[in-house]
């Protein structure tokens, strides 16, 4: 199993009441940004990644959002380049590069540079980008899927085809393709495809023998995507295994359950992930097919309370800031804990819930979405990481052996043969869900 760690790298000093009044992190004015404080945070987050390697994580993970204090990292490849130099052995996973809003040739060059500097430790991940990324980059959402597909195909060519050559596609044209940087990893860097349970994405990942990486989605719909991926792999003639699946899970550790519980409330600072962006920004017209919009709503809806987890609130609603803060730290937080979206506790407490996820989803990649948000201090974060490294990761590795959960570094996705009857074996265990 490959165990990695992630945070959104928030601009932690964004005033919480501004986020709550806006019902969304996206859209809060950048007048609240102090570049000195932001720079200090960038350095802190880089230091924490280095520390993650020291305490035993196999990888570090970054993501990218734009115009949003929820994630300062809007040019993730710059951060990844620094990590390529200041870390030694960890894989640097980029979950992911939003293809439709990028210049694909420039992106092929940036990623190849990171792989070269890191000595082949890059893990690429391709995403469509949230709706608000299309707005922030002024990229037509109706061409999102077309641009994703074309940019992906172009980058594969840019990494494999000797130049110079000319490219004329529907959305991109290049007169002279001849990048003097190429990935060390052949034929391409290890690739995981992050997703919020879009069936098209699961199928895309399986058809390309990429691992599929579920971004902290509820377990039941995640199981459905695992099965769809495995069915697609079966159609392609191979057996999916744990190396094909990654799962992102919020986990924070402290010396006592009570301390960890209090610390975990920082995940819902300003409303946390559910307040990422309001619906009109998440789903601009044409970004999703209507069917995909419905599926996403299901995948991100709390199965018990029926509340949307990523939708924000109606902008026209009167917002009572103290009441919302109370709601976030009591109702929302409790719901997220009850549904295992957030795991808090001592290492022993966390391990019980992690074991259940490992048994249910059988992932070969496990990403700890580490504590973040407003008041989280560097010391708290480092201490939690230390507890994870010393007391959680060793047990997870033991269990991974017992449950036979190899990562994609151990077994290459696409390399397992189907059983003799041509019918695939199960890839997850839904029966463990209720445990």
């Amino acid at each position: 199993m490959h165990i990695t760690t992630f945070t959104e790298r928030p601009y932690a000093h964004v005033p919480e009441e501004e986020v709550i009044k806006n019902s969304s992190f996206f859209g809060v004015s950048n007048k609240f940004l102090d570049p000195v404080k932001g720079g200090s945070l960038f350095n802190r987050y880089l230091d924490e990644k280095v520390y993650a390697e020291e305490v035993g994580f196999d990888g570090v993970m970054l993501n990218e959002h734009h115009a949003n204090p929820f994630t300062m990292g809007c040019v993730m490849d710059v951060e990844a380049s620094i990590l390529a130099r200041i870390t030694k052995n960890v894989k640097i996973a980029l979950m992911g590069n939003p293809l439709p809003v990028a210049d694909p040739l420039r992106l092929a060059e940036e990623l190849a540079t990171i792989d070269m500097i890191s000595g082949g430790r890059l893990v690429t991940g391709w995403v469509r980008g949230a709706g608000c990324e299309q707005l922030a980059n002024n990229v037509n959402p109706t061409y999102n899927r077309e641009r994703f597909d074309e940019a992906h195909d172009f980058i594969m060519q840019a990494w494999s085809k000797d130049g110079p050559w000319r490219y004329e596609g529907k959305h991109y044209e290049y007169r002279h393709v001849n990048p003097w940087v190429k990935p060390i990893q052949k034929p391409i860097p290890e690739t995981w495809i992050p997703s919020l349970v879009s069936p098209e994405t699961a199928q895309f990942a399986a058809r390309n023998c990429y691992s599929y990486f579920a971004l902290a989605t509820f377990l039941a719909p995640t199981v459905e995507m695992w099965n769809l991926y495995a069915d697609t792999a079966e159609q392609e003639g191979w057996q999916a295994g744990p190396e094909c699946f990654g799962y992102l899970q919020k986990v924070v550790c402290a010396d006592t359950d009570e301390e960890a519980y209090e610390l975990g409330k920082n995940y819902v600072y300003g409303g946390g992930q559910p307040a990422f962006a309001r619906p009109e920004w998440m789903f601009p017209a044409g970004y999703n097919s209507k069917a995909a919009t419905k599926r996403m709503a299901y995948a991100l809806t709390d199965p018990e309370t029926n509340e949307a987890v990523v939708s924000g609130k109606d902008a026209s609603e009167e917002i009572n800031v103290p009441e919302m803060k109370k709601y976030n730290t009591e109702v929302l937080y409790e719901n997220l804990i009850r549904n295992r979206q957030i795991i808090t506790g001592t290492p022993e407490t966390c391990l019980v819930k992690i074991r259940n996820i490992m048994e249910t989803l059988r992932p070969g990649i496990f990403a700890v979405w580490h504590i973040e948000g407003g008041p989280t201090t560097h010391e708290q974060s480092m201490h939690s990481m230390k507890l994870l490294g010393e007391n959680v990761l060793p047990q997870m590795r033991e269990w991974a052996k017992e449950l036979d959960l190899p990562g994609p570094g151990e077994v290459k996705p696409g390399s397992r043969k189907l059983p003799a009857n041509g019918k695939r074996d199960p890839v997850c265990d839904k029966s463990a869900l209720a445990a």
């Binding site: 002024n138 017209a285 044409g286 902008a315």
Partner: protein
């Protein structure tokens, strides 16, 4: 005939299938819909259908007529409709276009003014306002955009019939289709063509009216001056205390 006797039918035109709603009899009047698609058979259509054949094409790709893969701009859509006009024998029709549909009509006239005998543009998009901005539909929930388009909701008789209450699933689907296809046509430059005001110089003697509400929050009223100057002999009709929807 009863004025609410209208039919919806599919015709083959311009190399594609096109759904049109048609009612009344007499000289054809082409009605070009806004960015949210067809609001329906409105009261004013019933009135006009007493003496005219009122024809409303459902824009290609807006959820009713199939999308035309080669049409990537409003200029392309205008060219498509020009082909339809010739094939259907509608050349010489009067045209009225609303918002995005007004832009389509203006592009058609800029390509070939002789295809119409008169043109009425109602708060048309298509020209960048000299002050203010065309409201960005892609940053609004559709219900909010619609509310924003009307200056006085309570004082607008048809508003409740058309848009009152919660957005139904059917409406949501229609709005999604329409706004997505509008994005294909007009994401950037947003809802305007920088060349249009110059291309309208081809129009010399097409009777043209430009109707605008002076409280329009979707396409700023200031744009009316550009249209008037660009279209020779055009007349402006201003609706006081009115938003983007004089037609409702």
């Amino acid at each position: 005939m009863a004025t609410n006797d209208y039919t919806t039918k599919t015709i083959s035109a311009g190399g594609s299938e096109l759904v049109i709603t048609q009612g009344g009899s007499g000289k054809p009047l082409l009605v070009l819909n806004e960015e949210l698609g067809d609001p329906g058979w409105l009261n004013w259509k019933q009135e006009l259908a007493l003496t005219r054949t009122v024809i409303t094409p459902q824009h290609p790709g807006f959820g009713v007529s199939p999308r035309i893969s080669w049409a990537l701009s409003i200029g392309d859509l205008a060219n498509y409709y020009a082909q339809v006009m010739v094939e259907q024998g509608w050349v010489g029709a009067d045209v009225i276009g609303f918002s995005l549909g007004g832009w389509v009509a203006a592009e058609m006239a800029a390509q070939n003014p002789a295809q119409f005998s008169s043109m009425t543009l109602v708060a048309p998009m298509g020209i960048k306002p000299p002050s203010g901005e065309i409201c960005d539909i892609y940053q609004y929930l559709t219900a909010d955009y619609i509310a924003y388009s009307v200056s006085n909701i309570e004082g607008t008789p048809e508003f409740a019939d058309l848009f009152g209450g919660e957005v139904t699933a059917e409406q949501y689907e229609r709005f999604q289709d329409a706004t997505a296809e509008s994005a294909r046509f007009a994401w950037q430059p947003y809802m305007n063509n920088p060349a249009l005001s110059h291309r309208l110089g081809l129009i010399k003697d097409l009777p043209t009216q430009v109707l605008w509400g002076d409280e329009d929050k979707i396409v700023p009223f200031s744009t009316v001056d550009i249209y008037q100057k660009a279209i020779a002999g055009s007349k402006v009709v201003t609706f006081n205390a009115c938003g983007h929807r004089p037609g409702n």
